[in-house]
């Protein structure tokens, strides 16, 4: 079963760690967590997909909803540790135009903090 396995605040970023298939259920779980943080004024998110190597377009569509919400509040969604097929899928969809991707979490933190 796919799920969010951890959330932490680090160097001004809310880092969300997932495990398993990024489908509708996992997308909605990420969305719920992100929206709770947005309510608290925390607007910069790094989604670490190291342990998610498969996605579907429904899960990806929920990320688009999160990006839309963040655009309204001048926030950002970043992605790291993407499996090649997930990166390719997000590129085809154009999703990476709106959320920068990083090879690793350390690379993301170094550039963003």
């Amino acid at each position: 079963m796919s799920k969010v396995i951890n959330t932490e605040s680090k160097d001004g970023l809310i880092i969300i760690y997932t495990d398993g298939y990024l489908n509708k259920d996992l997308g909605e779980e990420i969305q719920k967590i992100a929206y709770e943080h947005i309510e608290n004024g925390e607007l910069n998110f790094l989604l670490d997909l190291k342990q998610s190597n498969i996605v579907n377009s429904i899960g990806a569509s929920i990320l688009i909803e999160i990006i839309e919400k963040l655009q309204d509040v001048n926030g950002n969604l970043y992605l790291c540790n993407l499996a090649p097929i997930i990166e390719k899928t997000f590129n085809i969809m154009g999703l990476t135009k709106y959320c920068k991707t990083f090879k690793s979490q350390s690379e993301a933190i170094e550039e963003l903090s």
């Binding site: 298939y21 489908n23 996605v55 688009i64 909803e65 839309e68 899928t89 999703l95």
Partner: protein, 140 residues
């Protein structure tokens, strides 16, 4: 004439059953010595094809998947007995439009076309057959 080996699956319309199809495609891709990249592209296209068949066809029963193995390609047929659709009437999604639209979904057909080498639909009111092909490289 030698008949191409075929793997046939019948999937019930249940949550995450598309992953059963991807497990099969991974085994078949390995058998065919396809690259990991191609195997992942096939799995992703298959996920989208299954979701379309499960959701948009409104079929209440199962869907059928045939993997047809040949020397130079893998052909996958995803068959449902749903209401059918006109692929030409589906607009190409665009991220800029999606970001301001209430409807964020609708990416499946585009992803399938981008990830596979050849894609074709036959559809009428009795159901849809999606045929998609991934070619082998000469060195695979």
């Amino acid at each position: 004439m030698k008949k191409n080996p075929t793997v046939e699956l019948k999937l019930p319309v249940l949550k995450d059953m598309e992953l059963v199809a991807t497990q099969s495609s991974e085994v078949i891709a390995k058998h065919m010595n396809l690259s990991e990249e191609k195997s992942a592209e096939i799995s992703m296209a298959l996920i989208e094809a299954c979701i379309n068949a499960f959701e948009h066809s409104e079929t209440k029963t199962e869907i059928f998947i045939n993997f047809i193995i040949s020397d130079d390609s893998l052909t996958i047929k995803v068959i449902d007995k749903g209401k059918g659709f006109d692929a030409s009437s589906i607009p190409l999604p665009d991220i800029d439009d999606k970001l301001v639209s209430d409807k964020k979904r609708g990416w499946g057909l585009m992803l399938i076309k981008e990830l596979m080498d050849n894609v074709d639909y036959e559809s009428d009111h009795t159901g849809t057959t999606l045929t998609m092909v991934k070619n082998k490289n000469k060195d695979e």
